[in-house]
Subunit: 287 residues, 2 copies
């Protein structure tokens, strides 16, 4: 998906949300908004939104002289979700369908996104996810694919949400499991340190995209990531940024799990904004 | 009120709404969004939002080579409200308090605003205005001031809404009535042609601000407008743009009637976004 004109006010709004936190010193706020406005005036709109997001956040980090502005926000959400981990585990134990419950928690956790304009009450949304109707539900096919799989690549999205990704991974009896994080700090997306901090390495080998885009951008990803992607029997891709980057990449068993956070992505899937989606990706014959 | 950083994504979003109509030819859409992004990067944020809006829309008109891009939108809303005029008049005839009913219609009509991000269902909002609770209600003081007044300056805002302004004006037995329009086309704001088209000249003398800002900008307004403002016994100012420009200008009997359309203005008034407000302005001793 290319950057749409709709992404421009959205990108400026996302910068504004950062500017209105303590992370940006008051004397730098105007300068940062001017800098990103100027960037948007000249940017290459043929890039996908996560590829554009990479450029914007490289500029923000450079302007701030801060290699990881969202560090505290990430730690906050990881901590919040770890505080609820025992409660979530009880939910799974008492569930008649723990796979479905864990999957719903993992999609509900996708609510935690400091980059998106669409903001939610985190705990309320996650509780609501347990019995919300999925706008698109390819999970029967996902379950079947997982049962036959020897290897799984699970592409993570945001901090906080990864606690639920860990619980969901625990429901999958696939011998070889890999969990993908970003190659460098970008917004509140999960990096190696975050994945280690919540113990995902106990369930999966941690690998990176080799890129600091807020979503997989195929052209910018490492050779190693692309090899892992092609050789995995099943790929699970969490969140809107990864969907925007991978929606046109073929794989026989690629599944997108996300909450739709903007009208454009929702429309491209055929749902409303704020929908819960489990969508099978394109196979080689579709692209 | 100065332009706030919050106004930047909002201004870009407003441009986008125009870009997504047939008014902007497809081949000019990217160019227009780039032009306004570049303008915002360099703009003088000490200007008030309507003063900034003037600069943005001068650029838009120049880029499009179209002196009045919103002409058809204005005609549409004037026509829509004229179609409902007889029904509104019946409401007034059957009302136990026609002044209050007309005032509520006039505030409800302020929903018609193509520039604001906050969009509404027009007819539903206007019907709802009849019994909504006003978040701030200085209308008892307004009525009293009107009863004693010999001259009234009523500053209009948007097309469509002026049909209700006309009905409201009809409830005021002030001998000298003037209705203020913008000095040139700007967004869907009312100009001389619009006021004449709906027959406001039967009730009031039509005068202009002498400026094409989407709201009164004191410094840019004509000498004549400022004289009219100071010599009127009562001034009624419709809408958010006029409020942003006049909130700090003193007058013994200045009343703002508006629906709050953004968080910043709502907060400065002490209400929520989407509130109905009748607010007395500042007197000489307040400023």
């Amino acid at each position: 998906m290319n950057t749409q004109l709709e992404c421009l006010p959205c990108a400026l709004g996302s910068t504004l949300r950062l500017v209105r936190t303590d992370i940006v010193p008051p004397h730098m706020r105007v300068q940062l908004m001017r800098r990103i406005s100027a960037f948007l005036a000249e940017a290459d709109y043929s890039l996908s939104p996560p590829a554009l997001g990479r450029e914007i956040h490289r500029l923000i980090r450079a302007e701030l002289g801060n290699p990881d502005p969202y560090r505290e926000i990430k730690a906050h959400f990881n901590g919040l979700m770890l505080d609820h981990e025992a409660g979530f585990r009880e939910l799974l134990t008492s569930s008649s369908d723990p796979f479905d419950t864990a999957m719903r928690l993992a999609i509900g956790g996708n609510v935690i996104d400091f980059g998106a304009r669409y903001q939610f009450d985190v705990m309320e949304t996650i509780r609501g996810a347990l019995d919300v109707e999925l706008a698109l539900d390819d999970s029967p096919s996902l379950r079947e694919a997982l049962e036959a799989a020897r290897s799984l690549l699970y592409i993570g999205d945001n901090c906080g949400e990864i606690v639920m990704d860990k619980l969901f991974l625990g429901q999958m009896a696939v011998p070889e499991r890999r969990f993908v994080v970003r190659g460098g700090p970008i917004i509140n997306d999960v990096t190696i340190g975050d994945a280690l901090a919540i113990g995902i390495d106990e369930l999966a080998e941690i690998v990176t995209t080799g890129d600091d885009s807020p979503g997989v951008v195929w052209e910018n990803s490492s050779e190693d990531f692309r090899r892992q992607f092609h050789r995995a029997d099943v790929v699970i891709s969490k969140g809107q940024g990864n969907f925007e980057g991978l929606m046109d990449v073929a794989h026989p068993n690629l599944y997108f799990l996300l909450m739709t956070k903007c009208d454009l992505v929702a429309a491209s899937i055929g749902t409303e904004k704020g929908s819960y989606v489990v969508k099978k990706g394109k196979s080689a014959e579709d692209v």
